[in-house]
Symmetry: C2
Subunit: 500 residues, 2 copies
């Protein structure tokens, strides 16, 4: 690694002075915290009136954007007394950084703030120009280096796709269903298509979903002792910053913007124009709303975490077992025609647990067992388990695995959809997952555990549309084909709504 | 009423002709559909090359923006054959409209598209200039006149406020509660404040809310036979156009915008900038999202109606009784510090019924009786009933009453909050309403009833935060003060979450 910063220190008043001694002493400070002789050094300096120009060089240690502030503080103290001046401002006129990378990237790379970037023999050279004080101070430089490394990593992984390793499969089953349940339900007025990836569910599919919810309550929530909470569905940026989602999900968010004000006068011409034209004046609206404050719930559990943020939980009270089913989440899914198995607005029971490493691993296993019982004995599904890239990594745009031992990470539940084709060739549906998220969220939201142990957490989202899609695809819409126990819980079939 | 339009008809090629005969014949057409002699007339005309200038005048009947198209069609037919030309374009160079109004407005009035507007002796004069074809054809002129009348109406009503007439009051009761439950719950970590008007509800308040839901199920939903459905919570403009909300609610919407595309490349520099700066690049995001497609659910029932849109319901199947509790609605409420009784994100059980006039009125009454039983016998509240401006009018910005007989309209349920002060001086909380919406929604969404009778509908929203606020304000947070039947349903008190 090689850093070369041409910095300009603007003094608070012009002076004439020989700074040789000061520079020598300052340079000694640049060795602190580095192995002997490996700190930064001042290669050149030049003072003219109020302009002190420095060239600072370093290797890995005491990088010039840090070194320059050590120099500033030193000069303020030493020179301030003698010359009645201080450093008013620091500018980075030119900053060259050379560092080794894992591999040369396969495609051209664009990086914000970077004037030039080039690669040669697994070495990256970056040139930055005209950097202001805050750029240097906020450590953007180190983050730029990280970003370059991450981008190379992503390019390397891009071809490989997500990790996917099947760890368990149910027996092959015979299925009464052979058709796409979305089409069947539409035909019978059970559901009605609305906006992009959005459906209205009439009484029959809603009753099926509610029956599934009851099964989850009886087989999982109650026996394992989970308690219901209500998590907000409008998620502000601070949550996604701490959860890591702000690193990646922009292309899938439904953004939320409030009006700039509630004043009726402010909105009067929008209202008037609509009343005359009958068209929503979108251009006028765009000018009158704030930038997005965040978006609609994406993953469901992150907005729970502010409840605990910056606090310490009581070890005695662990594990905490909570769940939320208070509203939909939204994702801007890919276009084209999809059924209820891929929707923009979807409903999920989100189950969350917090505790020690041991408690969280144990609950993760118990939950998977409870699901197995539900899918095998109650719903009688054909499905399989896969160990995959953890969702909290995938949603940050990272590939790979968190833990080779399969303790921290995500297990996907995948179902066979007969209408999609043969078992081998068709795409199975990820209708469920369960994750041990390790220390990810406690760290992100700065939540501690009393007694000094690390806090762990896990979560599992029950995607009700996907349960419905799986169940009806395998069992058909005819209750006579449904498993006995499910039909018992479902009870009487509601009348279909007749639309003439 | 007096309309004077100076129109320019641009011909498809220049001609020289004496149009006297044509104009005379055309003028006869302008009498059709009007009482004798009260149609429009052509006051002046002048042809120069391809420019035919007309001055058309009318009273109430056959207004010039309609008349000019009759003339166009006539000329196309008659003149087309003889002169091999037609009318290529119609422009309104100047349009003066004079009409009587209820009263002179109290404040200056601004109206889109209007160049000049003035009032004198309850007469309004409007001047429009340079109107294009679509402006004339889409009948904006009549809508401008309506808008002026509505604005005068609104100004007249503005001082009077909403209609509010108390029709029933419970006995005065003694209350164990005297404090603001929001503050009490915060102190005990039952709830945690999030964004603007947004809270996370921990296990205890959630269990209270769920107990209330069960009471509603047992006392109202099941005995009256309502069936659960799932209504989308992202509401697109088409719904609000048909429900009438597009006329008014812009200052309270949380707007929803999807990304312009899902392409990762498109979003790469947003992602990269965030990864370097740690700040969300809002300016870049604003450029990369679409104009709002609508907003988050406001009133909860309008997005159900597309299920029935443009269809006919079966009289035999009436009344249809449905309810939804699938997610929160949002409103941009006024700023300042509020408790859970006034929130931006709130949860509601929305109950909807459709049927004949008689069925809808009957259900409205039965529902009010069911609520009375819940509030008096189960929750033991101090509350009152008020007949108010119907919500479907209020949300369109209209004041007054729909129906003097108190059959079609809204009844509000208001509760006394002891911590707010004395019964007489403090503001009571509207914690519940129930409406007979008449033919409003069936008309808006074009839904018919077989057999030719008109379809009616009603709805009632159970605002769970407001039930909670009312209950805890009157009964306190101590279960020992809660009514026996409620405590039975509530069961064991969950442990408070300890945040150290």
């Amino acid at each position: 690694m090689e850093f070369t910063l041409d910095a300009l220190l603007v003094l608070s008043r012009p002076i004439t002075a020989d700074l040789t001694r000061y520079m020598k002493e300052a340079e000694e400070l640049l060795q602190k915290g580095a192995p002997a002789g490996e700190g930064a050094r001042i290669d050149e300096w030049n003072l003219e009136k109020d302009q002190l120009k420095l060239r600072i060089k370093s290797g890995r240690y005491v990088r010039p954007h840090d070194a320059v502030y050590r120099i500033k503080n030193y000069l303020a103290k030493e020179m301030g007394a003698e010359y009645k001046t201080g450093v008013r401002e620091i500018l980075g006129r030119r900053y060259e950084i050379i560092f080794e990378v894992k591999d040369n990237p396969e495609r051209d790379m664009k990086v914000p703030f970077v004037k030039e970037i080039s690669f040669k023999n697994k070495t990256c050279r970056i040139l930055l120009e005209n950097l202001d004080d805050s750029f240097l101070q906020k450590n953007y430089v180190d983050r730029i280096i990280n970003l370059v490394n991450e981008k190379i990593e992503e390019q390397l992984y891009a071809g490989k796709g997500e990790h996917h390793e099947i760890t368990w499969s149910s027996p092959v089953k015979e299925h009464a269903g052979s058709k796409d349940p979305t089409q069947e339900m539409k035909r019978k007025n059970w559901i009605k298509h609305r906006g992009r990836g959005q459906w209205i569910y009439g009484p029959i599919p809603t009753k099926i979903i509610k029956t599934m919810e009851s099964i989850v309550e009886e087989e999982l929530i109650k026996p394992l002792g989970f308690q219901e909470v209500i998590i907000p569905k409008a998620v502000t940026w601070d949550v996604w910053k701490r959860s890591g989602h702000a690193k990646n999900i922009y292309n899938e968010i439904y953004y939320l913007s409030p009006p700039k004000t509630r004043s009726r006068e402010f909105w009067e011409d929008v209202i008037d124009e609509y009343r005359i034209t009958g068209e929503i004046p979108l251009d006028k609206i765009k000018e009158r709303i704030d930038p997005p404050i965040g978006g609609v719930s994406y993953a469901q559990c992150p907005p729970l975490w502010p409840f605990f943020e910056n606090r310490t939980l009581d070890l005695e009270q662990m594990p905490l077992k909570l769940f939320d089913r208070s509203g939909p989440s939204m994702r801007y899914e890919s276009g084209g025609i999809h059924g209820i198995e891929r929707v923009d607005e979807f409903h999920r029971i989100e189950i969350v647990w917090l505790g020690t490493r041991k408690q969280v691993i144990k609950l993760h296993k118990e939950i998977i067992e409870a699901y197995k019982k539900i899918f095998n004995q109650v719903l009688d599904l054909e499905w399989r388990l896969a160990w995959v890239t953890p969702w909290f990594m995938a949603q940050e745009g990272i590939n790979g695995l968190a833990d080779e031992k399969h303790e921290i990470g995500t297990v996907d539940f995948e179902s066979y959809l007969p209408y999609k084709g043969s078992r081998d060739e068709s795409e199975w549906l990820e209708f469920q997952n369960a994750s041990n998220n390790g220390i990810k969220y406690p760290e992100g939201f700065n939540v501690k555990l009393s007694g000094g142990k690390k806090l762990y957490s896990g979560c599992t989202g029950i995607g009700l549309e996907r349960w419905l899609a799986t169940f009806l695809a395998q069992k058909s819409l005819n209750p006579e084909n449904w498993p006995h126990e499910f039909r018992e819980g479902f009870g009487e079939m509601p009348e279909e709504i007749r639309l003439l």
